[in-house]
């Protein structure tokens, strides 16, 4: 399902001394079935942006088109529930939302809110638990007994159990160990490739952006400052540095190598691309082979 923003502006607490404009004239399109990454440094409006994706916030000016629904300042708070089912949001540190007695009950909480029978909800929960790789014996435990990484999976499963068309994740790998990070990213790409789920990922990990994203949205001070493929967004290292962003590590490495006589075109963004371009440029020395 496609989501687009049409000149969206958003103010927190308008009309008070605390009024603050968090989004300024944001226009963008999140294409259906694709992987979109949103980057930008802290306070650039990313989290405000994603709360517009399922109408948790309504634009102060402009409008948001979610599938065939239009949300603007005058949209009533009623009948927004179907949107919450089509657009699932996994917030930052989602383990803070767990509350049920058992892991399974917590995952089934979402489907139950949408009027699914408790047996069907349990089945949906079990399937979601399997998707995120939670072992069966954990399902009867209290979510508060689990480790941080496991709690994160439970929370993600709680959103996946809704079977959304669009999955939005706000820094889902923050605070996880390398293994946990890789697992979460593998799961997300699998959902996109195998189920054509639309993915929106907020992240500070440029390597993940380079590796998985098809579109990148760069935000700064509440506005969209750049939009395009990873290749276009990462083409200008100086511009990135100005916006307190960095190159993916493979690109950074390539950029340093190019100061020592190596040549890359286009700039490789992933390790694989780097290797492919670098190998032909390396002189072969007397059959030496380092593996």
């Amino acid at each position: 399902m496609e989501i687009s923003f049409d000149k969206v502006g958003f103010w927190y607490q308008p009309g008070t001394p605390f009024a603050f404009q968090a989004l300024k004239d944001v226009s963008l399109t999140i294409p259906s079935g694709q992987f979109t990454a949103v980057i930008g440094h802290t306070g650039s409006g990313k989290s405000t942006l994603i709360q517009h994706l399922n109408a948790l916030l309504k634009p102060t000016t402009g409008r948001v088109l979610i599938g065939d629904r239009t949300i603007d300042a005058k949209t009533s708070n009623k009948h927004l529930k179907p949107l919450r089912k089509t657009v699932g949001i996994v917030f930052q540190f989602p383990e803070n939302q767990l509350f049920e007695e058992t892991v399974l009950k917590d995952i089934a909480f979402g489907p139950q809110n949408f009027g699914v029978t408790s047996q069907a909800a349990t089945e949906m929960a079990q399937q979601a638990a399997k998707q995120v790789g939670l072992a069966d014996e954990l399902l009867t435990r209290s979510p508060f007994e689990l480790s941080g990484g496991q709690m994160r999976r439970v929370a993600i499963a709680g959103v996946l159990a809704l079977r959304p068309d669009v999955l939005v994740l706000d820094e889902p790998t923050a605070g996880l160990d390398p293994r946990g990070r890789r697992d979460v990213m593998t799961l997300v790409t699998k959902l996109q490739r195998e189920q054509q789920m639309t993915i929106v990922l907020i992240t500070h990990q440029m390597d993940d952006v380079a590796r998985y994203a098809q579109n990148v949205v760069v935000m700064a001070k509440g506005a969209v400052v750049k939009q395009g493929t990873p290749q276009t967004v990462f083409s200008d290292a100086n511009w990135l540095a100005d916006h307190q962003l960095a190159l993916p590590s493979a690109a950074e490495f390539a950029a340093q190598l190019s100061q020592h006589g190596f040549h890359f075109d286009p700039l490789p963004l992933t390790e694989e691309a780097l290797v492919a371009q670098l190998a032909p440029q390396l002189p072969l020395k007397g059959g030496q082979h380092n593996e």
Binding site: Y12, Q13, T16, P17, Q51, N54, L56, K78, K81, R84, K85, G88, I89, F91, P94, N96, Q97, L98, F99, F109, G110, P111, Q112, N113, F114, F144, G158, V159, L162
Partner: protein
């Protein structure tokens, strides 16, 4: 939750903002005490004039005060209605069973409403112009004499400052958890009472779990930096009593005297 103005601090540098928090607390206590002595038109007029004068000196826009009153509207209405229907005495205008509208009932409803509004506005003025931590410091300083009777003033002050400090944090967190549960299909503020109570559980449990976790973290962080209760601790924020504080205190005492004198007019 974002539009909740009651009890918030509004940054500024007005005459009232710069008063010592101890002075502001004392002024507030004097004012609230005197409100209960007011009994006729002239006393209320004087109190209203003093309040309006203080509001002007605080340079906080009037519409923000009105917004601050808004959440208390139903409480005010309820009190007034109770007074009107159950207040007895004087000429009876209307009667039905135990309900009656009488002259005295109307008068006391008016007085209670006036008192309520005055007290709410002066306390709102205090919180609008004084940072929560300054209020806590002020209370600690005013309670200092109780140290003589071994009252744990420092502990109480620490509890006060910690809880005030975490009000906005907890509110932020409640908003975040509500958003997360809304995204999982919870409908806040709809359905019957039973349904509504059920929606509180998914907020309260995570909120409590996080609050306890945070309490543990804070106490460890404080101990790691050598905090010990009950020592003679020095203060980072020093309170300074200035002549403006004395002047306003004298002003309010005179007002109190005038109100007590004007009482005799009826």
């Amino acid at each position: 939750m974002n539009n909740f103005m009651f009890g918030r601090y509004i940054p500024g540098n007005s005459w009232v903002h710069r008063l010592d928090p101890r002075a502001k607390l004392l002024l507030c206590f004097i004012y609230i005490g005197v409100v209960f002595f007011a009994n006729n038109f002239w006393t209320y007029l004087l109190l209203t004039v003093v309040l309006l004068g203080s509001i002007i000196l605080a340079a906080v826009p009037a519409r923000i005060f009105i917004r601050g009153l808004r959440p208390l509207f139903w409480l005010l209405l309820f009190t007034v209605v109770i007074q009107i229907f159950f207040g007895a005495g004087g000429h009876v205008y209307w009667q039905w069973g135990v309900f009656s509208i009488t002259h005295d009932g109307l008068v006391s409803a008016g007085l209670i409403l006036m008192r309520f509004v005055l007290i709410i506005l002066i306390s709102t003025l205090l919180t609008f112009t004084t940072q929560p931590l300054a209020i806590a410091d002020g209370i600690e300083s005013l309670l200092n004499p109780l140290r003589k009777v071994h009252f744990p003033v420092a502990t109480l002050a620490l509890m006060l400052s910690l809880s005030l400090r975490f009000v906005p944090t907890l509110m932020d967190e409640a908003t975040k958890i509500m958003n997360a549960q809304r995204s999982r299909g919870v409908d806040f503020g709809s359905g019957g009472l039973r349904q509504q109570i059920k929606t509180i559980v998914p907020i309260l449990i995570p909120l409590f779990v996080n609050a306890f976790q945070r309490a543990v973290d804070i106490s460890i962080a404080m101990e790691a930096r050598g905090y010990r209760d009950g020592e003679n601790r020095t203060k980072y924020r020093q309170l300074k009593w200035r002549s403006a504080d004395t002047i306003s205190l004298v002003g309010f005492v005179i007002m109190a005297g005038l109100v007590i004198a004007l009482r005799q007019l009826t």
